[in-house]
Amino acid sequence: MSWLLDNRALVLDLTLEHARLSAVPIVVALLASIPLGWLAHRVRVARLIVLSSFNLVFTIPSLALFVLLPLLLGTRILDDLNVMVALSLYAIAMMLRGAVDGFDHVSPAVRRSATAMGYSRAGLFWTVQLPLAGPVLLATLRVVSVGTVSLLSVAALIGKGGLGYLFTNGFQRDHPAEIVVGIVFVLLVALAFDLVLVLAGRALLPWARLPKEAGAR
């Protein structure tokens, strides 16, 4: 505890860095998974490719990706971009499956009846399918968010791990308390992100968590 108080500036800095580095991949994953997931939902070949690349990306150890990305991207070794791109890849891979599920999950009856009402393709996508995929997208995004926040700490091995610094540093200094502080703050960041997502969900998808009223069947 006293260590935390003495080092609160450091911990705060690392926490903010952690949040910054992990927030970007989460947002990127959400944005990328919508068009890709949609494509996979519609086109059988695309589905095959998308879902097997999910498995493929997960076979790459994160450390390898952190090390090798500068080579592929031509970025500088310590560029934030390396970590963000690597985490984005994992996040997209995780998110994609959820996006495909989400779009699959939209009831064909609703889709058909909306088409019968005279929705255009684009209108159908933006105002019917996307919002209705929302709950599944959100559920997946929550898992992705938690996973990304936790995975980032491995990047401490290349000096870009946010709170992961406390792990390597605590390890070298024989200081378990420091590692525990790191773990707790990682959990706090994950929790904070989750809270944001849940609140965003409540605001954007108010219908998704209705208590059924008496008389409803």
Binding site: V110, S113, A116, M117, W207, E213, G215
Partner: protein, 295 residues
């Protein structure tokens, strides 16, 4: 008037769902397509608003080929009520009903005003306007679906087993409501069901379909009942099991001077007035909605 001209529809590779069907549905009356599962009722119905395009043949509305019309605009001009209301679960009742006016670019206030009127027309309490579909009973959902279909003020209403999923008492209520509405609005309604009783109740004209959408018999309910053309129709309407062949039972003189009427199996179907032991015959003419007055 809706006309199917030699339409055939094959879904990829399978035997055709609908094969060489020609059928003319009169304007401003209810035509019921009835047939068992897979007979192609839905396929035929959906050809009208181009949810399904025929593999060959064509569908005309008032003499104009629907294939010539852009599907989105066409659909906005035709009301559609599916079996499971197909309401948008993420929109409130009022917004669901206002869907078509909003799609047509009407201002929100006007669209909502129209939607409120329609809630009244279909017998929905105004207090339900702010609910989401999941908060309604099945019967209420179907009323919303009907209101939504009416919101674009279409001439044609397509109804695909709209009351198939609600319980019998509610269904009876909705059927009566449909008759009342039609009396007021006089739309061209194509109604799909696989319940022959519902068909006879609602149809000005009933079309009984076999597999492949082939017409087994068409006519007013009374025509079909009195004179089924073949064994298939007889089986379908239940007269082969004697369900339609009635006799008056002697055993049970009930309150008043009613007698129980039984079918050929001996099971009771209703009571008939027999004042003073005499059966009043020759009174009412079987109705057809075409000539019917306020219900």
């Amino acid at each position: 008037m809706i006309e199917f001209i030699d339409v055939t529809k094959s879904y990829d590779g399978d035997a055709p769902a609908v094969e060489n069907v020609s059928l003319r549905l009169p304007a401003r009356s209810i035509t019921v397509l009835v047939g068992s599962s897979g007979s192609g009722k839905t396929t035929l119905l959906r050809m009208v608003n181009r949810m399904v395009d025929p593999t060959s043949g064509r569908v005309e509305i008032d003499g104009e080929d629907v294939a010539a019309r852009p599907p989105v605009a066409l659909r906005r001009g035709i009301g559609y009520v599916p079996q499971h209301s197909g309401l948008l679960p993420h929109r409130r009742v009022i917004d669901n009903i206002a869907t078509v006016p909003l799609l047509n670019g009407e201002p929100k206030a006007a669209a909502h005003r129209r939607a409120s009127e329609l809630m009244d027309v279909v017998g929905l309490d105004a207090s339900l306007a702010g609910r989401y579909p999941a908060q309604l009973s099945g019967g209420q959902q179907q009323r919303v679906a009907v209101a939504r279909a009416l919101a674009g003020d279409p001439n044609i209403l397509l109804m695909d087993e709209p009351f198939g999923a609600v319980d019998p008492i509610v269904r009876a209520e909705l059927q009566q409501e449909t008759l009342r509405l039609q009396h007021e609005l006089r739309k061209t309604i194509v109604f799909v069901t696989h319940d022959i009783d519902e068909a006879f109740l609602l149809g000005d004209e009933v079309v009984i379909l076999r597999r492949g959408g082939r017409v087994a018999q068409r006519g007013t309910p009374a025509d079909i009942l009195a004179d089924p053309v073949d064994a298939f129709v007889a089986a379908f309407i239940g007269s082969d099991r004697g369900r339609r062949r009635l006799t008056i039972s002697s055993r049970r003189p009930t309150t008043g001077a009613d007698r129980v009427v039984v079918d050929a199996g001996g099971y009771p179907v209703g009571v008939i007035a027999a004042p003073a032991g005499q059966l009043a015959a020759g009174d009412p003419t079987p109705r057809s909605r075409g000539t019917r007055m306020a219900g």
